[in-house]
């Protein structure tokens, strides 16, 4: 059981502004509108005053015990506890534990971790299929549909993060991000209509599990883990000029209409122009301190998402590459 225990001060100190005065066998501690009187017996008042004087400089608890052998550790502990009950004690030890780092410095760790993880997993299956010309029409359309799902769900995924208490600057950043993302699905709806998937059908389409996993990860972090949310955003916004080029060329080879592929390319240009590729860094810059446990939790989130992105490319090729599967994914 963890409850029922009390915090042990490492360097107990009387709150700044507390005044100690002696009157015969009484020692008074006054702080703002309240205070306490400690009654002592015999020569005790000198001892108590000496302890209280030391308590004003915030010594380490062990040193305090050593300096007052006549009082003894138990009486000393009881005195500190009583003074603390009255709200008169604070902690002088303000050292941050090792591993605490700034948000922006953590971002550098994230990006290097991401790079190392990406190097371990052979990603880019869909990109290769585009570049070597093996991606079929159905697979390219499938990619577009999965991309649409993320863009379409984006406002609902991001909105909960707007409810979190954040610094005014962070709130502005998140609100601007939301504002620039909130109707991007409309331009893509036009694009999909150009290949015969109208809005009514589109609303009945469900995403692939890996696409859904990307969306729900972001949604979950927006609600319960703001640090992971801010950190993971970059994964959705990283510019990929080589991919864009390959996508355009493959669409042209497959004689897909310009009205279909152009809005998708334009959409990623908009994100880049809006500075969204840098969004995680800008958001993390606003965080002064990130603990090691927060960092590890977030790296786990980032790692899982990177692996999901890799898996999504394969899933797109498999699902949309199999003529037995319904395309678009509308199930009765």
């Amino acid at each position: 059981m963890m409850l029922g225990h009390d915090y042990q001060f490492s360097r107990p100190m009387l709150r700044p502004g507390a005044r100690v005065s002696v009157d015969g066998d009484r020692v008074r501690v006054d702080y703002r509108r309240h205070g306490c009187t400690i009654r002592t017996v015999g020569a005790g008042s000198a001892d108590v005053t000496a302890v209280l004087t030391d308590l004003q400089s915030g010594l380490r608890r062990a040193d305090l015990v050593d300096r007052h052998p006549q009082v003894g550790p138990e009486a000393l502990g009881a005195l500190i506890e009583r003074l603390d009950d009255l709200g008169l004690i604070t902690e002088a030890d303000g050292a941050l534990p090792p591993g605490v780092t700034s948000g922006e410095q953590f971002y550098r760790r994230v990006r290097r971790f991401g790079r190392a993880l990406a190097a371990r997993r052979a990603g880019g299956a869909f990109l290769r299929a585009l570049e070597d010309g093996t991606a079929t029409r159905a697979q390219v359309v499938g990619y577009a549909l999965e991309y649409y799902h993320i863009v379409h769900m984006c406002p609902a995924l991001v909105a909960p993060a707007l409810a979190n208490h954040e610094s005014p600057r962070t709130r502005d950043l998140l609100r601007d991000f939301y504002r620039t993302e909130f109707d991007h699905d409309r331009m893509l709806q036009g694009a999909l209509a150009a290949i015969g998937i109208d809005r009514e059908r589109l609303d009945a389409v469900i995403p692939l599990p890996t696409t859904f996993a990307q969306a729900t990860s972001l949604a979950a972090y927006a609600r319960v883990n703001p640090l992971a949310f801010k950190t993971c955003l970059y994964l959705f916004e990283v510019p990929a000029p080589r991919f864009q080029r390959a996508l355009r060329e493959r669409c042209q080879q497959l004689a897909l209409p310009e009205a279909f592929w152009k809005p998708f390319l334009e959409h990623s240009d908009i994100n880049e122009d809006a500075g969204h590729d840098d969004i995680s860094r800008v958001l993390l810059r606003e965080i002064g301190a990130v603990t090691e446990e927060e960092q590890v939790t977030t790296l786990i989130a980032v790692g899982a998402l990177i692996e999901t992105f890799v898996a999504q490319e394969t899933e797109i090729l498999h699902y949309y590459g199999d003529p037995r599967n319904p395309i678009p994914r509308i199930f009765p």
């Binding site: 059981m1 963890m2 409850l3 029922g4 225990h5 009390d6 915090y7 709150r15 703002r32 509108r33 309240h34 709200g87 004690i89 604070t90 902690e91 030890d93 303000g94 050292a95 941050l96 534990p97 591993g99 605490v100 780092t101 700034s102 922006e104 410095q105 550098r108 990006r111 290097r112 790079r115 190392a116 190097a119 409810a163 979190n164 208490h165 610094s167 609600r223 319960v224 883990n225 640090l227 992971a228 500075g275 840098d278 860094r281 800008v282 810059r285 606003e286 965080i287 002064g288 301190a289 990130v290 603990t291 090691e292 446990e293 927060e294 939790t297 977030t298």
Partner: protein, 330 residues
């Protein structure tokens, strides 16, 4: 790209001098740095001296390289995540943070509750208090406890600290069914669960409940800071119970409520905020400013809760505001 230049850069990776530039190798991934102005050996020496111990300006001076050039180089390296910032994180420890907030809460509570009609009378043995006010306090307390799972549960999965999760889950389990203890006391007055289920709490009670739910979902850190006050880290609950006994209220009513207070006291629930914050290694300045602002609001919301208890239950109005009886009047 919006990159602010690092003041204490520390290069990651191994530097090798090449004929036409410098190579940086980081766990098998290679990067090339080329520069028209400075020869490779000068660049390599500069890069090797980015050890995080010296400020950027100092490094530039030591190598007699224009500081703007060094800045541009560091920014480029940073865009590829090849440099760290060795400047320490800023913030205070979680314990210092909660001790400051505790102090502020205490000061605010003393300042506002001193003028609160409910507490003014409870703390003054000579003041007249209608019995309904003490019963009403228990009724509103029941409404509050009944809804406690709603505002405690959002933090049970607190993702970034395993210890905080454990603490909150233990607390949650210990709090479970505390409303039943108060209900036992209210039964002594002939009030049943079914009556309470269709009774309107005072708006100030729901305001407190909803404020806590809002904080636990959107600002868990501040929610943790309120627990010490709500669970009675000071003597307020004692004062209420002492007054109940002094007024000679039936022991069937007082005893279960006293039992509830004792559980909280023995489990040191009043210290919960501290135990949680002891697990938070650092709180930055922006967060601290936010916690202070919310602390003021919280005490005001809490103060209104007690004010309304006094205003309503001292007015001679019925103890329960049952929906069915209001509808009968319509």
């Amino acid at each position: 790209m919006n990159v602010e230049v690092i003041t204490r850069p520390r290069l990651v990776g191994e530097v090798t001098t090449l004929v036409d530039g410098v190579a940086i190798d980081i766990r098998g991934v290679g990067f090339r740095v080329q520069n028209d102005v400075y020869p490779p050996e000068v660049l390599a020496a500069l890069l090797r001296s980015l050890d995080g111990r010296r400020e950027l300006d100092e490094v530039a001076r030591a190598h007699r390289i224009d500081v703007d050039h060094v800045r541009a180089l560091v920014a480029t390296l940073d865009s590829q995540f090849l440099v760290d910032d060795a400047a320490p994180a800023t913030g205070i420890s979680g314990m210092q943070a909660i001790l400051e907030i505790e102090d502020l809460l205490k000061e605010r509570i003393h300042a506002t509750f001193f003028d609160n009609p409910f507490w003014k009378r409870v703390l003054d043995p000579a003041a007249e208090i209608p019995h309904d006010v003490m019963y009403g306090m228990a009724i509103e307390n029941y409404h509050f406890l009944l809804r406690e799972t709603g505002f405690d549960s959002p933090v049970l999965g607190y993702p970034t600290s395993a210890k905080i999760r454990r603490l909150m889950n233990e607390f949650y389990i210990e709090e479970h069914q505390h409303d039943e203890l108060v209900l036992k006391g209210l039964r002594a007055l002939g009030i049943e669960r079914a009556h309470l289920a269709e009774a309107m709490p005072l708006p100030g009670t729901l305001a407190l409940v909803n404020a806590l739910l809002y904080w636990s979902t959107s600002d868990p850190l501040f929610f943790f800071a309120t627990l010490g006050v709500l669970e009675g880290s000071d003597s307020r609950i004692d004062s209420y119970l002492q007054r109940c006994q002094q007024m000679g209220l039936p022991s069937d009513f007082v005893a279960p409520i006293l039992a509830h207070a004792k559980i909280n006291m023995n489990s040191k629930h009043g210290k919960l905020s501290r135990l949680v914050f002891a697990e938070i290694p650092a709180v930055d300045a922006t967060t601290m400013a936010r916690l202070r602002r919310q602390a003021h609001l919280f005490v005001e919301v809490y103060d209104r809760f007690y004010q309304e208890v006094w205003e309503y239950y001292s007015s001679g109005a019925p103890l329960l505001r049952r929906i069915s009886s209001i509808e009968l009047e319509a």
